[in-house]
């Protein structure tokens, strides 16, 4: 067994192990967000604090960026309005319904990105 092949196998295994965890995390996020937004719609009055924030990305490959943008958009309450890939670092512009504290909002998004990259980059290392 060559070293190269063993590396790939190992990474695949890591991915497989981490993916369910990520999916679980995202599902919880997804459902909670749904509840939040549902409450926002049903209850009288408004708790809205919308903002459009720039999320600077660790992600680099088109696939990483696309999946992240996809997940953010899929989640109620957050919406990607623009994707910048030619800038360094790449950035997403995200519209949040409840982003009264933009920094907290950005932190949560960053957390999601980290978790995603952990699945997609089994070596765990940062790429420049």
């Amino acid at each position: 067994m060559s070293r190269r092949l063993s590396t790939r196998l190992r990474r695949a295994a890591v991915r497989c192990l981490r993916a369910p965890g990520f999916l679980g995390h995202f599902s919880r996020l997804f459902l909670l967000a749904n509840v939040t937004v549902a409450r926002e719609i049903i209850t009288p009055g408004s708790t809205l604090a919308p903002a459009i924030v720039e999320l600077r990305l660790r992600s680099r490959t088109p696939l990483e960026i696309a999946i992240l943008a996809h997940l953010i958009t899929l989640t109620p309450g957050t919406l990607v309005l623009e994707v910048r890939t030619r800038t360094t670092p790449p950035a997403l512009f995200v519209h949040g319904m409840h982003a009264a504290d933009p920094d907290l909002f950005l932190t949560r998004l960053g957390d999601l990105e980290n978790r995603l990259l952990a699945v997609m980059r089994p070596h765990g290392g940062y790429r420049p």
Partner: protein, 109 residues
């Protein structure tokens, strides 16, 4: 009515409720961005629930295949519409509600 049917109906009602909620959101939320934010996602979940309900109500292998594939596709494709709509809204100058307290995108232009 079996438990399976009961569950099916409950899921269907929940899913439909979410879709209806999305429609309500359409009316209640103040600007296009918030509407997009609410509508597509709530609806995605709602539809997924309805499809699951159908699986309970008409359980056959074909139905299962179709519905599971359909659910997956729904979750896969609904963000595309939302992203395109949001981007178009911003680029076409759809106004943000006054409550929007930060707009990095404008600062960036």
């Amino acid at each position: 009515m079996t438990a399976q049917h009961l569950l099916g109906h409950a899921l269907a009602a929940l899913g439909t409720g979410l879709v209806a909620l999305a429609a309500l959101g359409l009316l209640r939320l103040p600007d296009a961005y918030n509407r997009i934010n609410a509508v597509s996602k709530a609806a995605a979940l709602g539809v997924s629930l309805v499809l699951l309900a159908v699986l309970f109500l008409m359980p056959t292998p074909t139905t299962a295949t179709v519905l599971l594939l359909g659910t997956a596709l729904q979750l896969l494709t609904s963000p595309f519409g939302a992203y395109a709509a949001g981007r178009a809204a911003y680029r076409s100058g759809s106004p943000l509600t006054a409550a929007t307290h930060r707009d990095d995108l404008r600062d960036h232009e």
